[in-house]
Symmetry: C2
Subunit: 501 residues, 2 copies
């Protein structure tokens, strides 16, 4: 065993002798200490000081400036993709290492698309984070921002004690971009977080899929009462925005094409109910809305006007006291500011988002920008709040990449070196129209610039084709475009996949 022990010894010793990296604990720690005022009283003390915090120290004048991006959604990823890594080091902090192609997420719940096809690794969006010595991706949550010190606080995401206790660290930034997104609104209704499933992340779609297939299989078990069978197979969607409507449409497609074939024993018990307090698809043209209502009803989705009062484990209760038993409950009633955004002592826009000016800067905070669903124009700009849409986030990310690259080229990349006179054109949002699929090769496309404006709106197969093509060309990498096309093709030929894995 001597050779093995020596191997183990080598592996334990070698890294200590390795070339010091930018991670080198001691040097970084010292820099941070001097920076954050947490220095030991005896810096010359030869004994090791217990390490509480570590991190990335501020960049020095000769080094590339560092852009820190919080979040990996549409806004953050589009920004990373556009940043010139010759000018900047890029550091991304997010609890997930991929971007989710949210408009296609509903399709993954029923097996039309694979989960992998709608997730794009950040390392593919911006390869520098895995190659450049000063660029990183950190699987962590931001826990606080010290804007006066140009510093963000982070804590690692872990999977329990077997791996590692959560680890805190700080990152000094030259430019900070907050792209933290939003979180689902529950309106304080009791039981939503416990019993309903949202539809924002891949793990949500996985949970919906597992539960749907489990309920289908459980309802086949002998001895189960008819009432319980109907409950298990009652899929309730709360919220009639595009997400809720698209999910209802996918679900009714799945029932019509796959449940009828693969679960013939229980096919007459499965039902979909869509509950909405107002009108479904309220941002769409009247005609489109009527069309969607007709199509959804035709494909078996029950549309119900109601306000949810309480959610319990197996039923929800409406405002008028009606009890609705469910087996699967999906919640998609829109989004609002996350708890971190709420806790930040930053200027806010109406609605509680982080306030930004026309150049997407957070006013009075030097070198801080905010984009995507977490941000909104401050009142002084006189601009309306932009909707929490992927296309807004994507356009803001693109604009900011351009702006930061311009600043970098003008040698304004480093912290507190930026001359605001060089700003250039402000960000202007032009709405390109809304799209939503309603199942069965049908979709709505609304190309009006706003709810009041005149313009083209259409519905049906042609829109569905436009919808699919538009999304296919927007999925970021060729690899995922290829996979999405292959998924659609196999679903068409072989039907949806029903393995519960």
């Amino acid at each position: 065993m001597a050779w093995f022990r020596s191997l183990i010894r080598v592996s334990a010793v070698q890294p200590r002798n390795a070339v010091s990296s930018p991670f080198s604990v001691t040097s970084t720690l010292l820099s941070l200490r001097s920076l954050s005022g947490e220095a030991s009283n005896q810096p010359q003390d030869p004994q090791p000081v217990p390490i509480q915090y570590s991190g990335l120290a501020p960049t020095r004048p000769g080094e590339k400036p560092r852009v820190v991006i919080l979040g990996s959604g549409w806004a953050g990823c589009r920004l990373m993709k556009g940043l010139d890594t010759e000018l900047y080091d890029v550091v991304c902090v997010s609890p997930r290492n991929h971007m989710v192609f949210t408009p296609l997420l509903a399709s993954t719940c029923v097996g039309t698309l694979e989960f992998r096809s709608v997730a794009e690794p950040i390392a593919r969006i911006q390869p520098a984070i895995s190659r450049e010595p000063g660029s990183y991706f950190f699987l962590a949550n931001c826990t606080g921002i010290e804007a006066d010190k140009h510093l963000v606080h982070c804590e690692t995401v872990t999977d329990g004690p077997d791996t590692l206790d959560p680890w805190k660290f700080k990152i000094a930034y030259d430019k900070l971009v907050i792209a933290l997104g939003a979180q689902p609104l529950t309106f304080g209704i009791h039981g939503v977080n416990e019993h309903a499933i949202f539809l924002r992340e891949v793990h949500h779609a996985q949970e919906i899929r597992r539960k749907l297939l489990l309920n289908l299989m459980l309802s086949e078990v002998p001895g189960i009462s008819e009432e319980e069978k109907s409950r298990l197979l009652h899929c309730v969607v709360v919220g009639g925005g595009p997400t809720g409507v698209e999910f209802s449409g996918e679900l009714s497609d799945f029932i019509k094409n796959d449940v009828h074939q693969r679960y013939a024993h229980v096919k007459d018990h499965i039902h979909v109910t869509l509950i909405e307090a107002n009108e479904i698809l309220s941002s769409f043209d009247d005609r489109l809305r009527q069309y969607a209502t007709k199509q959804l009803t035709k494909s078996g989705v029950r549309l119900v006007r109601g306000i949810v009062k309480d959610v319990k484990a197996q039923k929800l209760i409406l405002n008028d006291g009606t009890e609705v038993p469910y087996g699967l409950l999906v919640w998609s009633t829109g989004v609002g500011p996350s708890s971190l955004v709420n806790s930040l002592e930053f200027p806010k826009s109406p609605g509680g988002r982080i306030g930004i000016d026309e150049w997407l800067r957070v006013p009075s905070m030097e070198d801080v920008f905010a984009i995507g669903d977490c941000s909104g124009f401050v009142e002084s700009t006189g601009k309306p709040a932009l909707p929490a849409l992927a296309q807004v986030a994507e356009r803001q990310g693109k604009y900011l990449a351009h702006l930061l690259n311009k600043i970098g080229k003008a040698n304004g990349g480093h912290a507190s070196t930026w001359n605001a006179a060089e700003l250039g054109e402000p960000f202007v949002y032009r709405h390109l129209g809304s799209m939503a699929t309603i199942g069965r090769y049908k979709a709505l496309v609304d190309l009006r610039q706003s709810k009041e404006a005149k313009g083209l709106s259409m519905a049906g197969f042609v829109s569905w084709f436009i919808w699919r093509s538009a999304y296919l060309t927007r999925v970021i990498s060729w690899r995922n475009r290829f996979y999405v096309a292959i998924n659609w093709l196999t679903t068409l030929v072989f039907g949806r996949d029903i393995s519960r894995i």
Copy 2:
């Protein structure tokens, strides 16, 4: 809201008025009561009796006989595929609704293949279970067998109280096939079940993948010590059989091709160690074994001879006291009888498997068969135990389908109606050779009939090509063949996927 309440009312009432199905609780319950002697003292009591048990009653003479299959592995699925559903109703009981294509499972851990590509839904293998009125798949575990009453006891698999409490039911069979597989051997070593991951199911592969990617990302976080980084990135595989070797090979491929490109910051810290008490690939030809050892060592896998004594959360301890810190521990030291098999009071083969005769019948148990890893020839047959291999299970499933179809055609399908004189040829196993991939487009193919026999054995690219082709044509459905080919192609073109979803 009146229309909604009426909708709810309709949905609650309608099923009760629906045509009575074979699941009808009352009739089934009564049949089972008379069968199992659990009848109430007052069967004429008009008050409802609390339902404890329900299930599928015995088939009647005019009905199709019912084959109950416990398990959905290679043996059970091959049998289901081959059964003539004109002759039999098929009922499968298993905690998973898909078959896992185990030889390709190692490839899914590192993203070479998608999880979906190696899982085949049972409803695709035998469509009758979702179409025929008397055929079913039940997502449940078998909890006991009453062979004298031709009855199996089952309990549903659930995902916690939100869905349904576990539900018990009984199924009467005409023919019972036990294909429960085996469970990983831990040799009573403390901590294996808690800290190590096996590699037998898709959820194991998902866990390995999530942990591997998490450790790669955590080790990039600033402030982590070099020692901790080395631990996190130390992947230890215990067991040098084909599974352990294939996983080590895949892992070293992943490190060479993808970690070096996508995790450049930590690429020098990641290492793979394969621990085996004896020789790796002990069933293979000497020359092949030497070749495998050379290739694995060349690709950076450390081969260690040792016996694991104890497993703790972040390190394992060998017999000689050596401590081996690990970030990921995969356990593949072979399989043994499951606890249900141990608990059955059936004749056993040497090694504790369910004893079978040459026709795969369980001796002295009428209408009961056992196939796959859970079964072994009883001593009186004078035949050696067959290895726990997919090809054995697959061949047994095929043979038994043929035998049962023959019995069914001779009107021996119903319980206790079978004339043993009609048995025909006994099952004979002919070993077709062993294959194992060792990464980097290299594989071993050993076409000898046994360890002692002479025959063709080869290693290298040609074998790898044979290995891939052989598996590709064996993946059961065209859909999965297509997906596996597409996965291999995209891995070649775009590299492996690294989203942690």
